[in-house]
């Protein structure tokens, strides 16, 4: 679906620095929220990276910190109560967390853009979609109202909204859910960014519309050779579009793997549990596998491995020591590229 090749037709300046450093790299990111009830550590050391043209899927349940990571990257975290005590977010090697607000604003929207989940509440109901789309051009490129509107129509055409010219002055409520999500995509694409972060872009949509939107996104990504961070909880969507996957649980990445590998041989009990709990054809009639218990409250994360109260494999060590993200290897010791598992017993999990 998505092309992973580093295309040669990029401008020379871009390909020069993308040779070594990844497009975006998150290093040991921590985010905490200071609330009345104490400090909630929402993210505890997240690492991942995305290259141009690559799709990284961040998989996790609600409260796992997947959206907070995205907000930290975009710099739209509410601070306070949020705080980033440590970590780096490197865009083409530059740490965005140490940049001035002015520098960050140059990257936000222009280089890294975001598609939000709920298009209806992310669009301003009292402004026409054309005005909202044109805002990108007016603010970032200083275009006139007229030129910006022409650009907006062009964008709406590109995300295949029928009769763009007539609809540019319509308001968000006049569009269907799928069309609204296309407008969100158009807005993110406006300045042709290098990286798009899509936070549950299709969760609110019906399956037939979801297929349309995901197709469009994949096509545009190919066309512009963008990096894509897809945040979702849907194992089906991930399997369809991702190149590599990071599974998050309680503010940590518990497993990373290329997409085919993850589904074939999960190396973390949580991932394995999630995959096993999908209804499968051959198990019709029998009970579904269910991970016992509930996702933890982030204000009271269990000691040791956060997954230990729900894990079948939990031993004493799991209750005391936080497992690091171990590199995963074959039984004979050959490394598996791009794989890691934050489980003390990853060997047992992957090799049975």
């Amino acid at each position: 679906m998505t092309t992973t090749q580093k295309t040669a037709d990029l401008p020379a300046a871009k390909s020069a620095d993308s040779a070594g450093t990844p497009l975006l790299q998150v290093k040991d990111l921590h985010v905490e929220f200071h609330t009345r009830d104490g400090v909630v550590k929402a993210i505890n050391g997240v690492n991942y990276s995305v290259d141009s043209g690559e799709t990284l899927a961040v998989l996790g349940e609600s409260g796992s910190g997947k959206s907070v990571t995205a907000q930290a990257i975009m710099g739209i975290l509410d601070m306070p109560p949020g705080r980033i005590p440590s970590g780096e977010i490197l865009y083409r090697g530059q740490d965005m967390l140490t940049m001035s607000g002015e520098e960050r604003r140059k990257i936000r929207g222009r280089k890294i853009a975001m598609i939000f989940q709920d298009a209806l509440s992310s669009l301003n109901p009292v402004l026409s979609v054309g005005y909202q789309l044109g805002e990108m051009f007016r603010v970032h490129q200083g275009l006139s109202k007229k030129d910006a509107k022409a650009k907006a129509i062009e964008l709406m055409d590109r995300v295949r909204i029928p009769a763009a010219k007539e609809r540019v002055n319509d308001y968000p409520h006049q569009f269907s859910g799928g069309m609204r999500q296309r407008i969100m995509i158009a807005m993110a694409l406006a300045l042709e960014p290098d990286l798009i972060i899509a936070d549950e872009p299709t969760t609110a949509l019906d399956v037939t519309v979801q297929a349309q939107v995901m197709d469009l996104l994949a096509e545009l990504q190919r066309e512009y050779n963008m990096g894509l961070i897809l945040i979702t909880h849907d194992l089906g969507v991930v399997a369809d579009v991702a190149d590599k996957i990071a599974v998050m649980y309680a503010g940590r990445i518990v497993e990373t793997a290329p997409v085919h590998e993850l589904y074939k041989r999960p190396a973390h009990p949580y991932t394995k549990g999630l995959l096993d709990s999908i209804p499968r054809l051959d198990h019709k009639g029998s009970e579904l596998y269910a991970i016992k218990g509930l996702p933890p409250n982030m204000a009271r994360v269990p000691a040791g491995c956060a997954f230990n109260p729900r894990c079948d494999r939990a031993q004493d060590i799991c209750r005391t020591e936080v497992p690091a993200l171990h590199p995963v290897t074959e039984q004979d010791g050959t490394t598996l590229v791009g794989r890691g598992s934050a489980c003390h017993f990853w060997k047992e999990t992957i090799h049975g």
């Binding site: 019906d206 297929a211 991930v238 369809d240 085919h260 054809l281 579904l288 016992k292 079948d312």
Partner: protein, 393 residues
């Protein structure tokens, strides 16, 4: 009329004329032959619900109608699960409300054990409602935040005091909590003290309180986390076996519907497009809409992603206030021809499959129905070889 041909296996009945509707006598004759499933507990016949669109403030005049549910018929048998799938706006939740008698149908009948319940009121309605209960979609808004769990689950007993005498209620509520897997000591807690999955269990306990025969579940797990969904689905299946419940299971997650349902109905814009057993619908869909719907579902298996033939529908669902003439699906259908705009296809076994035994022999409202098993199962990918996978518990 849904099960006529299938049940009797008498293709000569209709004489090839699809549009001829069967008489009540024929229906009864056909049902008499269904020894395996017994009497249907709920029969829905030509159910219609139109919501009027009005204009003017003082002198309201009707300028049209939203045809939310437009002439649908199906049966529900004792102890079975009927899944209802469809996109948002197709009328599946309106069907749920009609079955619960929360809306009055514009026309049509809902027969509970042979008695039409859609026009009942007062005491007779109250008596019927004991047997049909509902589990709602959103466990966050369907529980009163000011009531304790004990009051929420015990409220049905206030309305139907004959089920549990006053002194007995607390014990009954605690029993119910135990049945749905919650600690009976939580009886005095409030909804906000529970997680989403636990709240949905409370909703299910409330639904079970009066020992109903039918439970209507409107998207019962879609608001829950993935890892918690399986727990609730397992609970619902266990309760079904224990109490011989019939479920009408409305959802948009097609894999969960397949897992839990015995039969599945596919709705599109207020009409039933196709209905059959789960294997018939999922493995041998004959209606183009079902095929498109199934092919659009992302499969949680990356190995199939390049082999799968995907049918991407164009456009959106048309407005139910102004549905297309003829077949409702024709505006998005790649097979549509002139006939589709003129005639409304009946929900019956398509002519091509009428004399053929097999999974394609089920009701489908399409003139150009075609068995297309490859849509959902490209080439069955080899199952993961890891022997430890599967149900480890």
């Amino acid at each position: 009329m849904a099960d006529l041909d299938k049940q009797g296996g008498t293709p000569e009945q209709g004489g090839g004329d699809v549009s001829e509707s069967s008489t009540t006598a024929e229906v009864e004759a056909a049902f008499a032959k269904t020894v395996d499933r017994g009497e249907p507990i709920l029969q829905v016949r030509n159910l219609v619900k139109h919501f009027p669109l009005t204009q003017g403030i003082l002198f309201k005049k009707q300028i049209g109608a939203v045809r939310a549910v437009d002439d649908i018929s199906f049966d529900l048998y004792q102890g079975e699960t009927l899944g209802v799938v469809g996109e948002s706006g197709c009328g599946k939740s309106t069907v749920a409300k009609l079955l619960m008698n929360l809306e009055t149908p514009t026309s049509g009948q809902i027969l509970y054990k042979g008695e039409d319940i859609s026009r009942l009121s007062g005491r007779a309605l109250k008596a019927v409602r004991r047997n049909i209960q509902m589990v709602f979609q959103d466990p966050y808004t369907s529980l009163n935040p000011r009531m304790t769990v004990g009051d929420i689950i015990g409220e049905p007993f206030e309305i139907h005091p004959e089920v549990a005498p006053k002194g007995d209620r607390r014990r009954k509520v605690q029993e119910l909590l135990d049945v749905v897997g919650l600690n009976p000591e939580y009886i005095n807690r409030y909804p906000h003290q529970f997680s989403g999955g636990q709240r949905q269990r409370i909703g299910i306990a409330r639904g079970l309180a009066l020992n109903p025969e039918i439970i209507i579940c409107d998207e019962p797990v879609s608001a829950l986390d993935v890892s918690v969904q399986a727990q609730v689905i397992n609970l619902m299946e266990r309760l079904q076996d224990e109490f011989n419940l019939s479920y009408v299971f409305i959802a948009h997650d097609l894999s969960i519907v397949r897992h839990i349902s015995d039969r599945v109905g596919v709705m599109y814009l207020g009409k039933m497009a196709e209905i059959g057993t789960d294997a018939e619908i999922y493995d041998h869909p004959t209606h183009p809409y079902t095929q498109a719907l199934l092919s659009a579902v992302p499969q949680p298996d990356p190995a199939t992603r390049d082999q799968r033939e995907r049918i991407i529908l164009t456009g959106d669902v048309p407005s139910p206030a102004n549905p297309p003439s003829g077949c409702r699906f024709r505006t998005r259908c790649w097979k549509a021809r002139a006939r589709c705009a003129l005639e409304v296809p009946d929900l019956a076994v398509p002519a091509e499959f009428r004399y053929v035994e097999g999974p394609a022999h089920h009701d489908s409202a399409c003139f150009f129905a075609e068995d297309k098993p490859e849509v959902t199962h490209p080439q069955e990918p080899p199952a993961p070889e890891d022997p430890a996978r599967g149900r480890a518990d």
